[in-house]
């Protein structure tokens, strides 16, 4: 289990390298920056964060989810800094015995990350204007 906050691009390839042969379901989520926001063309997003606290909190969220949904493994990576349209800002992967708890846990982890991590995003529009969410 591993939660990470990073400025580097996120590797979304096969997440559980040491394959645990009891995993029957892997559910993943990727949040991707779109090229429009409120119908305006977006150049990129900028994510500000309290990295230390965000890193602690993302791991707390994973621990809670693993225990609550009896997961075999779970990973979550949130990118910060500049993220361009088409790039992944959040990646979550959940390995479980069956799929039902996999879908529920993945959705729970994404919601919790968006509600609880001290991370904020700023729209940088193509027209040069900016605004914090």
């Amino acid at each position: 289990m591993k939660g990470r906050i990073q400025t580097d691009p996120i590797d979304v390839s096969y997440p559980f390298k040491d394959s645990n042969l009891n995993i029957g379901s892997i559910v993943t989520f990727r949040g991707i920056v779109r090229d429009t926001e409120s119908s305006r063309a977006l150049r990129h997003l900028f994510y500000d964060a309290d990295e230390g606290l965000a890193s602690e909190e993302i791991n707390k969220v994973l621990e809670e989810a693993v225990s609550r949904y009896k997961l075999i493994d779970a990973i979550a990576v949130h990118r910060i800094g500049v993220v361009k349209p088409g790039e992944t800002s959040l990646f979550v992967a959940v390995g479980s015995t069956h799929r039902k708890e996999g879908f529920e846990a993945c959705s729970y982890i994404v919601d919790s990350i968006k509600e609880r991590l001290p991370i904020w995003k700023k729209d940088h529009f193509v027209d040069g204007t900016e605004s914090w969410h």
Partner: protein, 79 residues
């Protein structure tokens, strides 16, 4: 005593700084927030702000000590 205040995201724009040192009396974080909002009135726009003391989320009833770092967070918008 002196405390360090850290601002994030739009609060950096509101206050014009990322970090600010303040000379204050012994008080709770809630009271410190009132002092800060007197100085930077735009911070009053959000009803709730998350607060961390020395990089831990804390209750606003906590008493601050000399040298503490208090982080003031806008409502989150991650993901």
């Amino acid at each position: 005593m002196k405390v360090h205040i850290r601002y994030y995201a739009k609060y950096v724009d509101y206050t014009g700084t990322k970090i600010e040192d303040m000379e204050v009396e012994r008080m709770t974080i809630a009271e410190l927030l009132d002092v800060i909002k007197l100085k930077h009135s735009r911070l009053r726009e959000d009803k709730t702000s998350l607060v961390a003391l020395n990089s831990r989320f804390v209750n606003e009833g906590m008493i601050i000590s000399d040298g503490d770092t208090v982080s003031i967070f806008p409502p989150v918008s991650g993901g």
